[in-house]
Symmetry: C2
Subunit: 560 residues, 2 copies
Amino acid sequence: MNANASLSRRPPRRFWGWGLADAALDQRERAIVQAMLAGVGTQFEDKPAPRVEEIDLPLPRVTPPATLAACFSASPLDRLNHSAGKSYADCARMWLRRPPSAPDLVAYPEDEQAIVDILDWAQARNVAVIPYGGGSSVCGGVEAAVGSGFAGTVSIDLERLNRVLEVDPISRAARIQAGALGPELAAQLKAHRLTLRHFPQSFEFSSLGGWIATRAGGHYATLYTHIDDFVEATRLVTPAGVMQTRRLPGSGAGPAPDRLVIGSEGTLGIVTEAWVRVQVPPRFRASASAQFDDYFAAVACTRALAQSGLHPSNCRLLDPAETIFAGVGGGRTAMLVLAFESDDHPLQSWMARALEIVSSYSGRYDAEAVARSMSSADSVEHRTGAAGAWRDAFMRMPYWRDPAVGLGVIMDTFETAITWDRFETFYQSVKEDVSRAIMRATGQKARLSCRFTHLYPDGPAPYFTLAARAADGSVASALAAWRDIKLAANEAVVAHGGTITHHHAVGRDHRSGYEREVDPLFRQMLAAAKQVADPQGILNPGVLIDPVNRQIGATGVLTG
Amino acid sequence: MNANASLSRRPPRRFWGWGLADAALDQRERAIVQAMLAGVGTQFEDKPAPRVEEIDLPLPRVTPPATLAACFSASPLDRLNHSAGKSYADCARMWLRRPPSAPDLVAYPEDEQAIVDILDWAQARNVAVIPYGGGSSVCGGVEAAVGSGFAGTVSIDLERLNRVLEVDPISRAARIQAGALGPELAAQLKAHRLTLRHFPQSFEFSSLGGWIATRAGGHYATLYTHIDDFVEATRLVTPAGVMQTRRLPGSGAGPAPDRLVIGSEGTLGIVTEAWVRVQVPPRFRASASAQFDDYFAAVACTRALAQSGLHPSNCRLLDPAETIFAGVGGGRTAMLVLAFESDDHPLQSWMARALEIVSSYSGRYDAEAVARSMSSADSVEHRTGAAGAWRDAFMRMPYWRDPAVGLGVIMDTFETAITWDRFETFYQSVKEDVSRAIMRATGQKARLSCRFTHLYPDGPAPYFTLAARAADGSVASALAAWRDIKLAANEAVVAHGGTITHHHAVGRDHRSGYEREVDPLFRQMLAAAKQVADPQGILNPGVLIDPVNRQIGATGVLTG
């Protein structure tokens, strides 16, 4: 077993924040962060980031079996990297040098059989197992906070199961190992001129298995919004054996087996591979942005677009406050980012009709810019225009938060979905409730904004961003304030009729809302299904539901 | 309790065949049936159809509780009508005056509370319960064949829960009671200028709850193929209590609760109502039909259309043999029926691109007819053209089978889905296997044809139709032959990689294929979930899975 240096073969990660250990902000990004900090009444300052040596970890309570020892690590860096995800609170606790409960060991299995063997061992020794893909959870999904009923905790990192195993270009599908991160699977698919075209913001640091386990949201604003829509078949290793679903384009044979796996958040088993539907990269593209003086007119416009059957690939509405956060507006008008893409056909008619709809709701756009967007036929992989720049910035945003956390600034997001008929009341009520919580917790007026990330014919998926600073500017105060704000946000979205999560998952942090949202009878059925697959209840305890035979509850940062 | 006349308030049904008791074939239809019969070597003859008086039913073994007696019926007609669905074998057994096991009683609850009460009573008395919507199952889904472990059997008919309870025109959604048949809910939605736009062939005699319980396939050839895609929330009455899911346009909160209800085939509970996504009736329409000399070129064309992102509402490919069955061709060329529809935009660009694809695969079409199809802007409800005629004929087809069954002719269909890469081999292998079974069972050369009912980017849903006549022309021989052919078809579709059912459901008749197709671990998880909702295992025993505490198996026509 490895005890010192990391066993990971990937570039070193920043255990106290987002992404790569050696990532740095460029001048332009520093300016953006500067502006954000000014907005909450403080300024940029380079605080010394947490170092591994500053943090005391308890000694591992378990030792791996001799036959598997080579893939186990007790290295402090590996344990820290696997002790939490990337929520605001996860980072804040690291800044405080009070890390979340670290796993006793981290395992890096080389193949599926090693996972089977580790589960056998863990089950026999009453060791809790936390499945770990990219570790980008923002809801306490990979945290080793499992209560006191276990002999120890092991985080199983799937980084070595990262290959595209098979490609079927005829059906446009590929069999991919679950540990493959976004860029890893993209590079392998690109060799076949294919792409999964699923780009969550965590793309670089999240894995196919993680997307499936958490029902991740991706690239498309309409139609194929979740990874759910791309899954053709799954393979799940459970303590009770392997469950393989059949590769099918569609079926009506009983309740869909994949739909039990998708969203199971590591509580039923470990997804080891999946057949997913892939795409030919788009050759045609059209994009537009429109301004609206009246936010609710803009909302009605997105509703018309969502119900039009035009299926835009992007249809992102920023409320006035969000345009400031995103650095694309002055906070007086709402902005709609609209795009179509296709590998099959030019998009003039699609965009033309969409813009008719935009105009009919008094949206304003630059017709020449739209025309220019349609003239280019380069592939997305090589694009350099505004959309490409936006995507790059989008992927970088989590890095911008890192210095802010060390300065006692809370930056967080929460997301939901709600039907159109209730949206206006919902939007106002959630903003009121959460603003009040921010004021209560920090004494500050809220910086709270909203964008739509995905749209359905029957409702939008609103995504809220908040920023606040603790009264005394300390990380400890900010973390305490965050707890109150987060509980208020959980309560607000569910009480006003939304879902506790549209695509960030439940984990430990959203469990209070999940229990309010989902019928107890369904949760009992889920727990019964879990007992079949995981009879000892060792898999990701505390996430989503409790095992039938253990009372764990949400033991993460919110209640711990 | 009612003992003689039917308690049903609906127009009398034909217990021995399809649809309404007083339905009759017109001259044109008789000619079509005549031609079909000639194809299998026999001719039209008006045989006396089964009458209730000819059939001996055992006395009911249970009596309803006094408080609920008013909604119970022991009328022979009601019991016969609820003793089976509408598969070929169901009808053949009626022609033989040897009906499938009839339920002891039929209940017509007036409201959800009555269903709760009936389940309480049934659970206490060990009475099996068969949920009954429209009774159009073609796979043994509503048959009262429950094995010997029960004190009796009650069929619960939801015909009185048939109202649209609430309409949300903003989100385009409606709350509808599960017992509403297609035309009932269509009429109520029409008052709001809305439509569910889900038209299974059984539309007139199947219910929303039945569609949800069986994952029915509907109108759209692509994108929204199953009722699954329209379900926003469900309400399920189980012996353990009521389970209500939240009305949401999308969510990522754990495994999707609705997806456990959808496809549960009455084994987990009785769906009493659902919120479903509805549509504004289309104002624009475009349709085309194309001929292909090479069937596999036509298959490749449908694949290109399915992967184009154009999302045709209809894209139905008939193989050469199927064009004869459908009365639209001579059996030498394959035919593609292609259509687009929208309530938002004209469809010239969509159809133009689709026809480019058709041409590139050497498909031939009549450009003038296509142009004419686009000039009309009348709503589907009032349309009179070819598409309307086709739909009307499509809905009438099940009636055409009725006289054939009495003449010892087997007419049956089976459907599946398979990925594109395997389709060509699959098609040939399934045709070979099933043709061989038909020859073995009847001594006849097979009449076996195939059409695509639905298409996905990764594969089609092939739908096979077969006709054969028993060597001695007797119904009894035909039924025996059908058993062999059906088992061979079940085996063929699953062995060659397809699903046992794309939208007809599993029921009792497809259970052998279902058990081969779906991982045992998933079926154990499903059984564990069932034990929570239905601890005594009284709900639809033998369908889909066995309850944990009872060994029932498929007890319907195939193994009984």
